[in-house]
Amino acid sequence: MIRFILARLLKAAVILMAILVLNFFLIHAAPGDPAAVMAGEAGATDEQFIADLRARFGLDQPLSTQLWLYIKGAAQLDLGYSYRQNMPVAQLILDRLPATLLLTLTAFVISIVLGVVAGVLAASRQGGWGDTLISAVAMIFYATPLFWIALMASLLFSVVLGWLPGFGYETIGANYTGLVRGLDIARHLILPATTLGLFFTAIYMRMTRASMLEVSRLDFVKTARAKGLRPGVIQRRHILRNALLPVITLAGLQAGQIVGGAVLTETVFAWPGIGRLMFDAINQRDYNVLLGVFFVSAAMVLLFNLITDILYVVVDPRIRIRS
């Protein structure tokens, strides 16, 4: 188990390194000489200043040295400087990372739990109206643009019905502390997390349903039935457990989409995370921030993948025995 996790961590490190290299070349592909851009952003354009900047950031060095400096910097959590916000990029991201982690992890859990439950319900009523209804709803959510459903949800539940806050992370100026503050944040979290999760709920529901139906035709299920086990036991212990494996694989593959989707959700709900930071950086063409967020969101995806890998081991006894 530990060796398995170590192997995964090593692989994650290699991928992160590759992303850094990609990032580095993207920075160089960005329009304009980085030093001139930086100078422009700092509001100065004289040659001496630009030359100083070049020397300071090693832009006068050969490309391979620059790449090495960039990777070394990233390893020390130095992701460059944002001249628009006048802050190190790493600081900007770290300040907002907790909000995004809270949002994406909640959406991830919501979508898997809801998706699996709905999928099991649909599969156990295959062909009935319950199955038809659940499948139709999933089909619709699967086709809905995330940002649109977020806008519609905020219109309905926040503007029209007034049930939930549709804006921000907590009530501004309320200065809640402790449990009250936690509940306040939770109330603000409901709309963004649910809308972010709905698309993925649809995916997991469809996968669970298909997988349940497939497993329920296998021989060992017939054996279990022949042994006279109760249908509920067969459903949970035999079918569901095996049917979950492809769902978990899929969840790992979809992790990147959830993190990407956070950009849209955070933009709509003014959730102060790295997605919102990315949206602001798009409008300001703040490349260092963009690439920093890209790097960190890739790291988040790797974290999600690690979680699903571990879940896989927990659910699938075959892997546990082998290691």
């Binding site: 940002f147 806008l151 963009l290 890209f294």
Partner: protein
């Protein structure tokens, strides 16, 4: 194939999808000539609700532009971006998957690590970064969407090729002296076409969603009217003019739904293994 067609025709969802998609295609093709209103031009005072002004069935937006004209022109952009970016993604993914599956060994290892890398990094974030750096023109929008959506194609094709290459007719072709290129393009790939078509139809749907999301964030081509742009522009007036957000969203939803329904119908019809199981 004929049986497949019959199976498709019996699938109610797929037929509904086909009807909707046909409608969208007709609107995209004939709309602009039949309704030659410039979607960027101010035609009336802003915020006219739908069905209130003669000649403006869907009203006007925050700048007094004709919403129906925007919708019609947006259909063109959505379909075009969805279709072309899928073709480009196939042009990347099919060769990568075919080479990996056919040659195996280190070629397979290298290509699959490469594919895995692209599958792991958050694709939407990568598309944003690419477009922010390379300016959002239609060309780069299509290219970015293709760059982030080819990995599933490569994996699918690799799997198909792996399972096909040990078949007897492929071995016969090897013995008859055909070279690798001929075997891949003439013997193996034609037999993988049905799976590729199914995946491609779903990819067009995903690409449309992706394009609209990018346009919503302000990364659309500033010279073309698109559904995502319309929603992005209407966002700030959601409270007072919700229909400006609602209408283009429904257009996206219906188009994507139609493509997904068709993709599913094709899957049942062309993939006999699954179809038999369903019967």
């Amino acid at each position: 194939m004929k049986k497949g067609f019959a199976r498709f025709a019996r699938n109610r969802g797929a037929l509904i999808g086909l009807v909707i998609l046909t409608l969208v295609i007709v609107i995209a093709a004939l709309g602009p000539p039949l309704y030659p209103q410039d979607p960027w031009r101010m035609v009336q005072r802003p915020f006219l609700p739908p069905f209130t002004a003669p000649g403006l069935p869907l009203g006007t937006d925050a700048l007094g532009r004709d919403v129906l004209a925007g919708l019609i022109h947006g259909a063109r952009v959505s379909l075009m971006v969805g279709l072309v970016s899928t073709v480009v993604a196939l042009l990347i993914g099919v060769p990568v998957g075919a080479l990996a599956g056919y040659f195996g060994g280190w070629v397979d290892d290298a290509l699959m690590r490469f594919t895995e890398f692209f599958q792991t990094i958050p694709s939407f974030a990568l598309a944003i970064v690419l477009l922010a750096i390379f300016q959002p023109s239609l060309f780069f929008i299509i290219l970015s969407i293709a760059i982030v959506s080819w990995p599933p194609v490569a994996r699918l094709v690799r799997g198909e090729v792996l399972s096909l290459r040990s078949r007897e007719y492929v071995e016969a072709a090897v013995l008859s002296g055909q070279n690798s290129r001929q075997i891949i393009t003439r013997q193996v790939l034609p037999n993988a076409v049905s799976s590729i078509i199914v995946l491609a139809s779903l990819m067009v749907a995903t690409a449309i969603l992706l394009e609209s999301s990018l346009a919503f964030l302000g990364l659309g081509d500033p010279n073309v009217m698109s559904w995502g742009y319309m929603i992005g522009a209407a966002r700030t007036v959601l409270r007072t003019a919700w229909w400006l957000t609602f209408i283009p969203g429904v257009a996206i939803l219906l188009s994507v739904l139609a493509l997904n329904l068709i993709g599913e119908g094709l899957n049942d019809a062309l993939n006999p293994r699954l179809a038999r199981r369903g019967e």
